[in-house]
Amino acid sequence: MGKALIELSGIERIFYLGDSEVHALRQLELRIDPGEYLAVMGPSGSGKSTLLNLLGLLDHPNEGTYRLEGRDVTTLSPEEQARVRSERIGFVFQSFHLVPRLTAAENIALPMTLAGIDPAQRAVRVKQALKDYGLFDRASHRPNELSGGQRQRVAIARATIMQPAMILADEPTGNLDRATGEEVMRLLEELNSRGVTLIVVTHDTVLGARARRQLLMEDGELIHDSGKK
């Protein structure tokens, strides 16, 4: 067994709502190797998004440790965590989350702009991404001038522009029709085939079945892991 990309141990995530506690994640143990393709499934409210946010360093566990590429990232400062998100993690959301006033090209370039990469290099990479995702003639369109599928392609281009180690996608096809959803999944799978770790949250069992490894969650617990030997 090689070096793990992700190691979760004893993860607890508890939300306090007034007097009541919601156990969004309980006693989570998980190991993911580089280049894996996982589908996270389970009923609504089972903690799938919470898990993904945690993996993406947008959220913090109440208990347990998260090691990313061998490094304990739960104890990092907010600035260091932002840097890890910038360099190692790409997000794809159900509702695309494009900045409405920016063009497709500008949206794709946003992570590089935030990271302070120089404009010349940005232009080269955006141009390549637009070509790769079939958006070349949509470069100067704003999100409201794009179809749902095109928007999600912009979002995927944006998620990959910093060449991250993993892509976290929370129901990336949730707002798309089946055909467009298929196409988006193909793009993500293609990324995975080039070595990027892909973790997809989905309700769709058909889409979930395409992954090489399935996680099934219920009530904050991991009740089934097809990759566990």
């Binding site: 946010n53 993406g56 947008l58 959220d59 907010p78 600035e79 932002a82 840097r83 998100r85 910038s86 360099e87 997000f91 959301f93 509702s95 989350h97 900045v99 409405p100 006033r101 920016l102 946003l110 992570p111 702009t113 935030l114 990271a115 302070g116 120089d118 404009p119 944006r158 910093m162």
Partner: protein
């Protein structure tokens, strides 16, 4: 994030919500415009007054009986508490001074003028022929008081424009005999109307020879002696010479006050300068109000853009980046408002000058700079809180917001 990217991002965010941005720019603009226009008014008033006082006469040195408090402690005047009279002879002696061109004694009192059964209270000014030149006044008709012995004087009077109208109406006034107090005078001249300027109004004054006026008021001391120096440079010399001559005549005692017009002007200048400053302060309050508006508008903006902030964090933006993005936006909007306000204010001042050509309504440079500076500083200062709030948002909850 690189500075040009930060500026472009902030600009796009600002133009992305034109209503919000224009409201903010407008508030700032009104504040800055208020500073510019109000200080233009204040400083215009200062210039106007200074100009008006300059028209009292040129290169004036004024002698007053009695020692002014501001002159400091003088052992001589401490012994004799009552000052000596400032007499006609004292006034005439000042003509000897080399730096002096003209001298006009002045005594003032009120009396009644009567003509053809009409009676009216008037201000009587006793002086000599030089007065009209010293004060650079103008006649409408006839001539001013005749030159001659200051201690004698003919029974002639020169009347103000308003008195002429009220006492004589449609009749000719020139050459008529009038009664002032219990003496009879012949009207030899009528002053041109001076209107309601800030300079002394001669419309309701009757001028008579100084000796007759002193006799009428049963007094030996003059109210003032107006001295005109040869030129601007000679004012100080005239002042010293005048002081010396009077001191010599008053047994070595300096019991008069000699003031120059420059000193009077300087006082007014300072007074109205302070007024302008106060007005600028009041106007600056509107800038503070604009600052509070900046804060509220930016806070609303943070709320509206919560999901965008969450996204930026997910894409790897640090709190510092988000903070500077919002601060840049507040600063840019404030700057735009300040520039717009400056232009509006200058336009307003120009309009004032157009409407009132005599009123030099130019905003002073310091006020313009202070206005622009305050706008920027308040804009940024009040932008700090919203920017920090944005930077502190929780990314997961922000992303969940629609």
């Amino acid at each position: 994030m690189r500075a040009p990217d930060l500026i472009r991002f902030a600009r796009d965010a600002a133009t992305g919500n034109p209503l919000r941005s224009s409201l903010l720019v407008l508030a700032m603009a009104i504040g800055v415009a208020a500073v510019v226009v109000l200080t233009a008014l204040g400083d215009g008033a200062r210039r106007y007054v200074v100009n008006e006082f300059s028209s009292l006469g040129t290169n004036l040195v004024i002698v007053l009986p009695g020692r002014s408090q501001t002159g400091g402690f003088n052992p001589g005047s401490a012994i004799t508490s009552t000052p000596r009279d400032l007499s006609i002879d004292d006034a005439q002696s000042l003509l000897r001074a080399s730096a002096v061109r003209r001298v006009a004694p002045l005594t003032i009192g009120t009396s009644e003028i009567s003509y053809g059964g009409k009676l009216r209270e008037v201000m009587v000014a006793g002086t000599t022929a030089q007065y009209i030149d010293v004060r650079t006044l103008k006649l409408a008709q006839g001539r001013f008081l005749a030159d001659g012995d200051w201690r004698r004087g003919a029974s002639e009077a020169v009347i103000g424009a308003r008195i002429r109208n009220e006492v004589f109406g449609a009749e000719t006034a020139l050459g008529q005999l009038i009664r002032i107090g219990d003496r009879r005078f012949r009207v030899v001249g009528i002053m041109a109307s001076t209107g309601q300027g800030l300079g002394m109004n001669t419309d309701e004054v009757v001028f008579v020879p100084v000796s007759l006026a002193l006799a009428m008021f049963n007094s030996n001391t003059l109210f003032r002696v107006l001295v005109e120096a040869n030129n601007r440079e000679a004012i100080e010399a005239a002042k010293t010479q005048v002081t010396e001559i009077i001191k010599l005549r008053h047994e070595g005692e300096e019991d008069v006050t000699v003031i120059t017009q420059d000193a009077v002007l300087a006082t007014f200048d300072k007074l109205l300068g302070t007024l302008t400053l106060a007005v600028a302060g009041i106007a600056a309050i509107s800038l503070a109000v604009a600052g509070i508006l900046v804060m509220n508008v930016m806070l609303v903006s943070v709320t509206q853009r919560t999901s965008e902030i969450g996204l930026l964090k997910a894409l790897g933006a640090t709190g510092a980046t988000i903070r500077s993005a919002f601060l840049t936006e507040a600063a840019m909007l404030s700057l735009a408002g300040a520039v717009l306000g400056y232009l509006l204010g200058q336009a307003g001042a120009a309009l004032l000058r157009q409407l009132y050509p005599v009123f030099p309504a130019y905003p002073p440079d310091w006020a313009v700079l202070a206005g622009l500076g305050t706008a920027l500083i308040t804009g940024i200062l009040f932008g700090v809180l919203p920017a920090r709030q944005a930077a502190r948002l929780d990314p997961v909850q922000s992303l969940a917001k629609r």
